[in-house]
Every structure is written in structure tokens, then in C-alpha cells.
């Protein structure tokens, strides 16, 4: 920047500016966002202009809870809530990877069968004597395999310039075949049991009540600390920060939800281990997406690949890394699924797993066109999908009906998004 003498246009002298916020009547919104009233007003303006954020999903979840709660007595019980957490975790985990892929404007249709590859590889390596690996080595190798699959698919996509839709469609066929080959070779009945307590425990064990409370406390304290730290650095460099009242309210809200959830599941079996793994993954990938250089580049590539290239970002490397993340998270999800069923079978990764995973990411608010979405949308979307599935199972609906309803929910989510987008466009916010 210019600090040449006679540069009349630079406003204040830099030393003064270090303490005082930049005098900027131009940035009116940034200024008013620093007061409580202003913050709320801007938030409301945003909602009205169609920047809905996670609001539609939260409303949707409430509607689902009320509707199924009325239709079925068991839906809202602590036992079923715990089941829901167990059912949701694998879908949400795989969906996190899909969110990354969608963020760069690509698609990964292979995730369901790649997840099955992960589960099958782990299970095979855990067979006693044959080869009888320890759980951590088996899981490590399984995850290396699925990440490598993501890498290879990404190489074809980037180096050969074939659309990801086609490459991962081929992947879908290939990996479903591989799963079939591996499972039928290993067992004449096509089902292989996991014979390791730790591996089975991943999706079937629960934390003690105390451990559950500790996790809840850590989540809340961690959130509060990171928000405060953020506000402190902003104030220290003379920027307007979110009002402290808002931070306090948000922390209290989070604490209420987290502690209520832990209290409820503690009445049943406790916090599922798999949910804790999911939360850890969620926090980690959210951090990567929103706070790191790599995450910024992911959004940039999804928003405008050409601009990113001109800005010196290695677009292909970002793409490859993202497909590797997708493969890795599919592997983790596949291990969760295998663990929950205590086995893998010829039909692992089949059925509607792929559709549920992609629907989760999209229902959570991730755009199929790239650049828009958050990692947490994987969790929210999976929560919607899993609770609908769960509720319909409780009601004993026919398979066909379940598909129709799931499809309608997906459609509704996309319509809300499209409506919000139109609304934003009408107000010139696009």
C-alpha cells in the first residue's frame, strides 16, 4: 500500500488508526452490527431479504417432532431419540465429505459404495487369524483405502477433465462390484461378522452419564472461548465485533440445547460414542472450512474457479484434496455403519444410502452449484432425513410410501431454498 508523502487520500495516520476503529461512515452495516439493537435489526433484515441460514431446517425439525410425536407415542421417547442419534451419525459423517464436494461445485456419487469398501476392508482385516489385525490398524488401512479411492477419482476428474458426475458414477459401479467380490469371496453367505469388540463398540457403546456431561460442558465452553477470542482479536485490531450480549445469548442457547439433549439420552443408555466422534469430525471440518486458507480456497473454487486460478490458487490441488476428504469421510461413515450392524454384507452401501447422504447435504442448505453451504448443514440435513426415516419406520409405513415422503421433503427443502434465493435476488442481494 502507499504511504508515500503527499498521498492525500489515505485518511487517518496509521498509528492513530491502530486503536480507534477505522472511521468509516461508508460501512454503516459493520458499525451498527456492533450494538445489540443493530445486530438484531440486521439479522431480521437478513431473514426478510431471504438470508434464512439454518432457520428453515430448525423449523422443519420442530414440525417433524410435533407431527411424528402426535402420530406415534414412541417417537419422542428418550430411547428413540438415542436410536435417532445412532442412525443419523453415519449419514451425517458421509454427508460432511459430500458438503465439501458440493462446495467446489462437483458431485460424488460413489460415496455410498466407497463407504462400504471402508467397512468391508476393516471387517476383513479384523477376521481372527486371517489376518487378525488390531482394530486401529484395520481402521487405518480402511481409511487409507477410501482416501486413495477419492484421490484416484479426483485424478481422473482433474487431469483428464472428465466431469465428476461421470467419473463418480463409474466409481459407483466399480466400488459396488468390489464390495460384492470381496464379500462373496470371504463368505459363502455373503455376510461377515466383525469380530473385534472395539470396532463393534464404535457405534454400539455409550458414554457414562458423567462423561456425557463432560462432553456437553466441553462443547459449550469451547464455543464460548472461541467466540470470545474472536471478539477480542477483532477489538484489538480496532474492528467492530459482535456485541457481547449476543455471544452470551448464543452460548446460553447452545448450552440449553446441549445439556437438555445429554440429560435426555442419559435417561436411556447415555451419549452414543459415535455421536461424539461425529461431533469431533464436525468441529474439525468446520474449522478447516471456515478458518483455514484451504477452506477459503474451497469456497473460492466453488464460487469462481477461473478467478481462483488467476488469483494463483492451485485449483486442481484443491479439487483433489476435496475428493480425498470425501473418500476419507465416506470411509469413516462406512466403518460406523459396519460397526452398527456388527457386520458387512453383499448389500453394504446399497439401498438408498447415497440418496439419503446427498439429500442430507442439500436439505442442510448446501448449494449444488458450488460455493454456498456450511459443514454443519451435513448434521442438520442428516437429522431431518434420519428423523423422517425413523418416524416412518415407527409408523410402519410401506417402503414405497417412505420413498415418496422422503422425496417430497427433499423437494420442499429445495423449494424453500429457491424461494429464499428469489427473495434475495429481488432485493439485489442475489
Amino acid at each position: 500500500m502507499s504511504d508515500r508523502p503527499g498521498d492525500a487520500d489515505t485518511t487517518a495516520d496509521p498509528t492513530a488508526a491502530r486503536v480507534e476503529p477505522v472511521a468509516a461512515d461508508a460501512l454503516a452495516d459493520d458499525v451498527s452490527a456492533a450494538s445489540f439493537g443493530g445486530y438484531v435489526r440486521l439479522w431480521w433484515q437478513g431473514i426478510r431479504a431471504g438470508e434464512l441460514g439454518s432457520l428453515p431446517i430448525i423449523v422443519g425439525l420442530l414440525v417433524i417432532a410435533v407431527v411424528f410425536g402426535i402420530l406415534d407415542d414412541t417417537f419422542l421417547t428418550e430411547r428413540n431419540f438415542t436410536n435417532l442419534l445412532l442412525q443419523m451419525s453415519a449419514i451425517a459423517t458421509i454427508a460432511i465429505g459430500v458438503v465439501f464436494v458440493l462446495l467446489i461445485g462437483e458431485i460424488d456419487l460413489s460415496v455410498a459404495f466407497v463407504s462400504a469398501v471402508g467397512g468391508v476392508v476393516m471387517t476383513l482385516l479384523l477376521r481372527p487369524e486371517d489376518p487378525g489385525w488390531s482394530w486401529w490398524a484395520a481402521i487405518l488401512v480402511a481409511l487409507v483405502c477410501t482416501t486413495a479411492i477419492g484421490f484416484v477419482q479426483a485424478l481422473v476428474i482433474t487431469k483428464a477433465g472428465v466431469p465428476s458426475f461421470v467419473v463418480t458414477l463409474a466409481g459407483l459401479l466399480i466400488w459396488s462390484g468390489v464390495v460384492l467380490i470381496l464379500t462373496t469371496q470371504a463368505s459363502s453367505v455373503g455376510t461377515i461378522r466383525i469380530q473385534d469388540e472395539t470396532a463393534v463398540g464404535i457405534a454400539n457403546d455409550f458414554l457414562s452419564s458423567t462423561a456425557g456431561w463432560v462432553v456437553a460442558a466441553l462443547v459449550v465452553i469451547g464455543y464460548a472461548l472461541s467466540e470470545l477470542q474472536n471478539a477480542r482479536t477483532r477489538r484489538a485490531s480496532g474492528l467492530y465485533a459482535k456485541p457481547i450480549v449476543v455471544t452470551v445469548l448464543q452460548t446460553v442457547g447452545l448450552a440449553a440445547v446441549t445439556f437438555a439433549a445429554v440429560w435426555y439420552v442419559n435417561k436411556d443408555r447415555g451419549v452414543p460414542k459415535v455421536t461424539v466422534i461425529l461431533l469431533a469430525l464436525l468441529v474439525f471440518w468446520s474449522f478447516i472450512a471456515s478458518r483455514t486458507r484451504f477452506g477459503r480456497h474451497v469456497y473460492a473454487v466453488g464460487g469462481n474457479a477461473e478467478a481462483s486460478r488467476r488469483a494463483g490458487i492451485d485449483v486442481d490441488r484443491v479439487r483433489i484434496a476435496v475428493f480425498m476428504i470425501s473418500g476419507f469421510m465416506a470411509g469413516v461413515g462406512g466403518i460406523m455403519l459396519a460397526s452398527r450392524l456388527r457386520s458387512v454384507a453383499t448389500n453394504s452401501g446399497g439401498g438408498n444410502l447415497l440418496l439419503l447422504v446427498i439429500a442430507s447435504a442439500v436439505i442442510g442448505g448446501t448449494s449444488l452449484f458450488g460455493g454456498v453451504g456450511r459443514v454443519v448443514s451435513a448434521l442438520l440435513g442428516a437429522l431431518v432425513i434420519a428423523s423422517i426415516q425413523n418416524g416412518m419406520d415407527l409408523l410402519g409405513l410401506a417402503s414405497g410410501t417412505k420413498f415418496v415422503i422422503t422425496g417430497l421433503v427433499l423437494l420442499a427443502a429445495v423449494l424453500v431454498d429457491a424461494y429464499a434465493k428469489r427473495r434475495r435476488a429481488a432485493r439485489g442481494v442475489v
Partner: protein, 262 residues
């Protein structure tokens, strides 16, 4: 080496051919510090090729590039950026989904502890740069670029280009998609860049813009420089004549055997 009179950027006899098409033929071009040099010409005159070759997207086939009086080889936008050459492209090269700060630091994000973004410091610098250029129409530096008007987007793109101690800013058709008031704002911005002692090249079709901001005018026609004019001593009429009928030193196609009869 570099005296006050040495042009910031000087091209000597540069050529570039794409197969049989001679996009540039022995073009001389220069821009000085604190000067706005307009680069004008009809479609296909070679303006964009010249710009892209200066930043190394296409290598020149022949000729010499002097920067600050020193011969340089630019192999890509990164090299150009290191020299302090920034291009603001016609299509702006902004990512719509990112906010103003993220766009201004795109590809050059500041980080603490290796890879964690230092948002506060970036936001602060972005604001200071926008302030120093008197960009006063933004409501928030945290709004996404998608919500900005054409003029605001152009302002962000220009501000982005001057953040990096750049010394030469090349603007490709900066006002092509803008309304009257917004064009005004962008042209003011261009003048401010030159007042900061930056070299500014403005590539444009719009002669009104040229006469508004340019100090000198280079006219390209069919890949050759047909005129170098001082704005104060020329007229729109003269520039138009140069664009449409400027005298060519070399008849296009003569290099190719098959068009010998032309």
C-alpha cells in the same frame, strides 16, 4: 539504472502469433509512473493479447520487456505480481460467494500459525485500502460480492489490485458494463491510482473514458501500433481515424506464403 524518465514498463518490438494469426507484430508500448496510458483499438486489434502477454499468460514470440529499465522475463501472473503488476480483468475475477475482504485477499490470504486465517488483520487492511481509495458506497466489507452493484464490484477489484504494493495496474475494460454514475466512480478511482504514482494502463473501447482519464493513448490496429498520442494534443476524431484506418507498417498476411496474392 532507472531514472525518473525511465518508463515503468516498456515493450520493445514484441510479437505474438497464434498459428497463422499474427495477434501482435513488433509493437512498442510504454507506461510511466503516475501516468494513465490508454490502450485502444477495435475488436481483434490485439489489446487483450498484449495484456495477457505482459503478465505472462502467453509468452511473447519476440521482443523485449523492460520493467524499471531492466529486462525481465515474466512467466505467469505470479511473476507479474512479484514485480508489482496487477491486472483487473473485464470479468472482474471476483468470487461472488465470498465477501469483500475474502475477495481482496483471494489467493494471498494472511494466516497466523501457518494456515489459520487472520481475519482481523485482513479486514483491517481491506478497509484501509478501500478508505484510501475513497470507496464510500459499501455498506459492509463482510457482505458477499454478489450483492454489490457493478461499480462497487469494479471498485473492489481495483482496490484488490492496489493492495499488494503494486506499481502497475492494468484495467481491462473497467467501465464496459457500468452505468453513467458508476462509470464516473470508476474513472475517479483510476485517476486516484495515477495520483499515487502508480502506472495505470486502461484498455478500453470507450473514447469518452479515454479522454476523461488518459494522459497518453496507444492505438493498436490489427496487431500493430498505429499511433501514440498525447491526450492534450489530440482529438477524438484523430483517435477514431487511427483505430479504423491507421497506417500499418506491415500488411497482415504477408508473412504467410498462402496469402501472397492478397
Amino acid at each position: 539504472m532507472a531514472t525518473a524518465d525511465t518508463p515503468l514498463l516498456e515493450l520493445r518490438g514484441v510479437s505474438k502469433a497464434f498459428g497463422a494469426v499474427q495477434a501482435l507484430y513488433r509493437v512498442d508500448f510504454e507506461v510511466r509512473r503516475g501516468e494513465v496510458m490508454a490502450l485502444v483499438g477495435d475488436n481483434g486489434a490485439g489489446k487483450s493479447t498484449l495484456v495477457k502477454s505482459v503478465v505472462g499468460i502467453y509468452p511473447f514470440d519476440e521482443g523485449e520487456v523492460l520493467y524499471d529499465g531492466v529486462s525481465v522475463n515474466v512467466h505467469g501472473p505470479r511473476d507479474a505480481a512479484k514485480l508489482g503488476i496487477e491486472v483487473v480483468y473485464q470479468d472482474l475475477a471476483l468470487a461472488d460467494n465470498l465477501d469483500v475482504v475474502a475477495n481482496m485477499f483471494l489467493g494471498r490470504e494472511r494466516a497466523r500459525v501457518r494456515f489459520v486465517l487472520d481475519e482481523s488483520s485482513m479486514e483491517r487492511s481491506a478497509r484501509e485500502t478501500l478508505d484510501s481509495l475513497s470507496v464510500t458506497t459499501l455498506k459492509s466489507v463482510r457482505q458477499t460480492v454478489a450483492g454489490l452493484s457493478g461499480g462497487q464490484r469494479q471498485a473492489v477489484a481495483v482496490a484488490k489490485s492496489v493492495m499488494w504494493d503494486s506499481r502497475l495496474v492494468i484495467l481491462d475494460e473497467p467501465t464496459a458494463a457500468l452505468g453513467v454514475a458508476q462509470t464516473r466512480q470508476v474513472l475517479d478511482l483510476v485517476k486516484r491510482l495515477a495520483e499515487r504514482d502508480l502506472g495505470v494502463v486502461i484498455v478500453t473501447h470507450n473514447l469518452h473514458d479515454v479522454f476523461e482519464v488518459a494522459d497518453r493513448i496507444t492505438v493498436l490496429r490489427l496487431g500493430q501500433r498505429v499511433a501514440l498520442l498525447e491526450r492534450a494534443k489530440t482529438t477524438q476524431q484523430e483517435v477514431v481515424e487511427a483505430i479504423t484506418a491507421g497506417t500499418l507498417d506491415h500488411v497482415p498476411g504477408m508473412l504467410e506464403e498462402e496469402s501472397a496474392e492478397a
